[in-house]
Symmetry: C2
Subunit: 340 residues, 2 copies
Amino acid sequence: MSQKEEKILLAHGSGGLMMQNLLGSLMFKEFGNEYLDQQTDSATLPVPQGEIAFTTDSFVIDPIFFPGGNIGKLAVCGTVNDLAVSGAIPLYLSVSLIIEEGLPMADLETIVKSLSAEAKKAGVKVVTGDTKVVNRGKCDKIFINTAGVGQFRTDGRRAEGYNSIKAGDCILVTGTIGDHGMAILNARESFHFKSPLLSDCACLNGMVQQLLDEGLQLRFMRDPTRGGVAAVLNELVSKVPFGIEIEESALPLNASVKAMAELLGFDPLSVANEGKLIIVASEEDAPKVLSSLKNHEFGKDASIIGRIVETHPGKVAMTTLTGGKRLIDVPAGELLPRIC
Amino acid sequence: MSQKEEKILLAHGSGGLMMQNLLGSLMFKEFGNEYLDQQTDSATLPVPQGEIAFTTDSFVIDPIFFPGGNIGKLAVCGTVNDLAVSGAIPLYLSVSLIIEEGLPMADLETIVKSLSAEAKKAGVKVVTGDTKVVNRGKCDKIFINTAGVGQFRTDGRRAEGYNSIKAGDCILVTGTIGDHGMAILNARESFHFKSPLLSDCACLNGMVQQLLDEGLQLRFMRDPTRGGVAAVLNELVSKVPFGIEIEESALPLNASVKAMAELLGFDPLSVANEGKLIIVASEEDAPKVLSSLKNHEFGKDASIIGRIVETHPGKVAMTTLTGGKRLIDVPAGELLPRIC
């Protein structure tokens, strides 16, 4: 059988020779570095004294290939961004694959190469991993878990945390919202929108470090993935004694995302992003944060969308395009399954 | 609907209100600690200067409940043991769940509680996590990924590594072999063996630390999971310029495992364990290691099974019960799928 037609078999995950060959010919080759090459059950890794950031995410996105990325790229971006929003510098990544028997080997190779390329771009090393294969019909093509370890800056700069948030602070979004969710839904259901719908899937650690390099005060950062901007803002007001007011007119929105959301009845505020941040910055620093973001490839469409307010604590209100006020709720029920 | 009949819905994984409620009522309640309670995208964790151990495993075992444990307990043991074999002290665990829509909530609760109890027993804290739900038929009940971070002892004691291995070193196994794999196969296929077949699933970090406390020289440790003892010994000889000789008569084996393996044509050397270690110790220290193991609840049946030899480098040979010699190969092909 040619390499092209080769498929993943149960034996590729059973701990025997075929698994060793797969690890050797693909994983170790793509990810190879001084830590992974130890090939021990756990990687031994240098860390600076103090604190580390540690996070994990499993990715079950459907389809596994989509405009703007694939599950491999996403698995790096999601975990890198969870580290980045704390201000941490991503260092190490674990990669654990659950593969459905019958997955074309060529698909696995594309995914692994994409994962490896994105990790290199983000400056994070894949240092440990795991590969399981389940019988046909017992998972859906491939699921990927990544866990990430990051270090904090030696100058102490990081996201300051909930306690630092004050009334008057500005809320920024680093670009257009809802792109990922709408792109995935479009790819999955084949709505054939003609305008380009691309996932925004990207690693944002570089952009965050640029802000910290400039010494800007960042109260809080979060990547609005599942549940979108609405979920992040509502979580935020649940942790602080303040409310939030945002302006619909200030929300960056791609025309095609707007059109698709309107047609299908989605609120872009509740649709997932994979390459955007919500940032709370002091009133004083917000314009500088905005200007720094606009100078970064992933922040060109950044916008100050609202403020932390003393009125209506615990609630997120939006001034609509028509000048009315609307309460932005926590998204409830089934949003879009399997968008990450 | 009563709590008892409640099932997992897609909405439990969609980032909205139902997910928040599930996290609050189950995950944060069970796992709660000062780090997890930060409820940030990544946990901020103190680490000592120097090195950390970092590892990951995904668990796709079928059935999810089995004699001797369940997938939750296993997900702790597997990752804790991967840290333990390097000599590291497990500190932090991430837990990422992929749940099939329709899983009874009561099953999830049992699994999460079991995971939490085993983590507490092993002295490791669940500090970060993720929950995904996929449509019915797109995974099999529940898959769990855990990643673990450990610290090394301040006295510098740890597994010495491949380079320390010398001809004459002794090879020990910490107890009966093949229990986990045969117990899972029995539970899955309902062979109705009357003699008890229990998984050996256990966290071995305490036993390893006991050996290190006693200052014993441990060249190498590995938990023989997928591929069993045969896979570990063959990997070992592939990394060192020596061979291995083991004695069949020295292999600890439960009568029921022996019977089932014989009946079904399995070689217990290739069957998975989840609560055993292969240890290479110096000739001088091996009897002390054996005696220390026998004093531990998970090492009662420990045995010196063989030696590192200068003859036949790269090969593992076994003196059989009848006095013949047999080459122990890397297990090839499909062994037992989904035993971890």
